[in-house]
Amino acid sequence: MRSVIAGLTLALAAVSANADIVVIVNPKNPAAALSADQVSAIYLGTATTFPDGSGVALADQPEAAGIRGDFYQKATGRSAAQVKATWARITFTGKGTPPKELKSDADVKAFVAGDAKAIGYIDSSAVDGSVKVALKL
């Protein structure tokens, strides 16, 4: 039994290691690509615009989704809890509004496809022509 669980854990670890996260923007966004540093600054609230100076509308994944923790760890080097503390400070000092929490990859994709200012992150397998990949993590 123990070896079965160990095998399963290994298999799951392999799956999550293979699952690429991509940062997506609206196809109208002029940025060809974003650097990890730019994405980090946007999701930590220190940058309120894309590199060309246009505004950003941030999408987030659900608190319970595994992709959320993986994204913040890869993009910002911080845990989802640390990022939450950062956004609480930003919110209660009136310096910004936290990313809009959506329910799934499909919802994030629809949000980004529908707003020229939007940015989100989804599993690479969910990407289609309605959005543009700006960064692979």
């Binding site: 220190t46 100076g53 505004g55 503390a85 609480a88 009136g94």
Partner: protein
Amino acid sequence: MRFRTSLIALAVAAVLPSVSSAVEFSYNGFTTAGYSELDEDGVVFKTTNDMDGIDSSGTFEYDSIIGLQGTVKFSDEWSFTAQGVVKRETDGDFGPSVDWAYLKWQPVSNLAVRAGLTRPPTFMFSDSIYVGYSNIWVRPPLEVYGISPVYQLAGVDALWRTNLGPVRLTVQPYYGNSELKLPNTTTGEGEYKLDVKDWYGVALTGEYGSFTGRVGYGDKQYDDEHPGLATLKTSLTALGYADLANRLGMDGNKSPILNLGLQYDNGTQFAVAEYAHRGTDSITVPELSGSYFTFGNRFGSFTPYATVAMLNVDSARSNEEIQIASAPAPLRPALTALDASIDGLASAVSDQNTYSLGLRYDVPSFSVLKGAVVKAQIDHVEPKDGGKGFFSAAPAGFSDSVNIYSLTFDFIF
């Protein structure tokens, strides 16, 4: 309070005509429940704005607070935000107050202008000291955060973000009025409110990779006298020391504050250091320098941290201007008493060092609580120069070290 209420009314009135069907409303909240006590009888730890503080009998009230913030968004450019808090007020009673209330205009994504009640960025974390969930410590080091007793600005500020090469720069200028609230410790009931005018300043913050650096400068002028000093000033004037009387107390005193801050955070390790200096024109309001250094390391949900903080009194702690020996004999007792009063005020604060150890634990979020944190902290405070350091009360001649024990629960919802 009059000018504040009218400012809010003005802000709301300015916005009402543009209210459309696209108005969005959102709210958020934060709360801290804390217990703290210290280990020396008769010693009280508090800021100058508090009637009561932490003492040897312990308190559930000193760090406890509930805050609720609501924002009405009229358009991409215009919004109105109000934040109310319930906490122990200056007069010692638990009660509600409006902490922030501002109209915000954001014409472009990297510029926002706000008018109303805000908290200026005097120090690096001045505007978020109540949001325990976001802060490293149970409470920010008093050696720096205790040197400015005025927090709330009734006026305007702006937030402008730009890139300076690879550095992300934020410029936040502000201007307005305020009030200094001090507890009436003579009667133990109620509070004094002294007007503060021409409060202006700017904070420059630069972010580069894991580093954040900042420079803040602000000045303001007190525009009322502390009622407790009236008798002293009148007596001094009557005895021929009018010039000295004019250099005492709060009225007309300017209190410029310079702040430097440096922060490093690579996600796992972090370090924060701040330095602050308060200038003064008044003999009885000490010139102070404060600094601290905090280091911490995150191990999963646990974050131990350590702080060393220092307070230095830069001004003279006694005054030599009153010539008692050369005065006519009948005046000497009165002059001796006045001299002692002035020295008592000038020496109310002495140098001190504080060494703190703390542990933060991030509780997994559940139900309506979006985030929860437990913090435990021990502060070892060492007053210097035979004084009582920054303690607000201590037995006569007390200058021993004191330990403060604190446990807080911070939530956001």
